[in-house]
Symmetry: C2
Subunit: 204 residues, 2 copies
């Protein structure tokens, strides 16, 4: 059983199709996904940006909205542009950070992405996250308290520091156990092939 | 017969595999490629950059060198990192601009990319371009003179202004006759499918 780290950020557009696809994509491959929520804010700040690069670089941003619409359509994944963009993702990331080893963790991540990129909901609002957790049948109030504990905040900060130290500069990013990095939803299949070992014609 | 514009820049890393692949990729599709050399410098300047983003944003640059090595290996295309990077591409772009409607034009583009990204040659040096043109059996001296004429310089400036106006922000970029834009070597197949019309599950 090989492990593939999946680094994602809720405000990241291309993390959405990656999060919706990765579960099915690894089925039967022997590759186990480790879901790694982190924050792009500090990483963008290290590159001199105080906003999404898609907002700072408007031509690239215009293209991205068209591209992700086409990509989601090709995957059969519903898509609606979040308004505003980016959505405040801190609280959702904290909940995800304390849910990664819980049975509801992956479903929560997918539900947040669906709320944000398919249903036009405001994922920065605690009420929206509460509703999502309740739909998953877990104790929303106690999870939100735990998510905002100092220990959990520190865990998320630590994950973000680890991402920066590993050379992550955007999301989604996939990293194999032997340290091979793949950036972007487009590279999901290659990352899985690499994690499986010696396949896909891409191991050098 | 549908036309697909292929916008490329000699200093662009991912334009290299795209240039080497596009000829075979369109074979039998009924899609005709229009080779569009342009300069990324003015376009990067409009985004506030005075160097390649892969040099400005070092983590992204480190990843890119690894990724393009993997990609080229998967395609069976030789790869060697140019030194220095980026290579001065102005003169080669001028030659390409005056060669786009000549029988040697496409071969020249591929030969320059091969010289730069496979053979470690300095494509900014007139002698290197002269040797490439001579290998193609054309009159190198007269072509280099024509490439540096005011009319040809103006043509390349015009192409770059057109790229900026069309919203191009990087290379390679593919644009179909109906104005659909695809950015990056990864999107070559989708661009061709779109140009063919109604295929690939991506026409919306």
């Amino acid at each position: 059983m090989s492990i593939l780290d999946f680094w994602f950020e809720f405000a990241s557009t291309y993390s959405y199709p990656a999060a919706m696809r990765i579960g099915n994509a690894v089925k039967g491959t022997g590759v186990n996904v480790r879901w790694r929520p982190f924050l792009l804010g500090p990483i963008f700040k290290a590159q001199g940006w105080d906003n999404s690069p898609f907002n700072i670089f408007s031509a690239k941003g215009r293209y991205m909205w068209r591209d992700i619409e086409r990509e989601c359509k090709a995957y059969g994944i519903p898509f609606r542009k979040p308004d505003p963009f980016p959505q405040p993702s801190l609280l959702a990331a904290r909940v995800a950070a304390c849910g990664t080893s819980e049975p509801w963790g992956e479903d929560f991540v997918r539900a947040v992405y669906r709320a944000e990129f398919a249903d036009g909901r405001q994922i920065g609002e605690p009420d929206v996250l509460t509703a999502i957790l309740e739909e998953l049948g877990v104790d929303a109030a106690s999870i939100l308290t735990r998510a905002q504990s100092d220990a959990n905040k520190a865990m998320l900060r630590g994950a973000t520091a680890e991402a920066l130290e590993r050379g992550i500069f955007g999301a989604p990013t996939f990293i194999t156990e032997d340290g091979e990095m793949f950036w972007g939803n487009d590279r999901l299949e290659q990352a899985i092939a690499w994690a499986k070992g010696g396949s896909g014609g891409i191991r050098t």
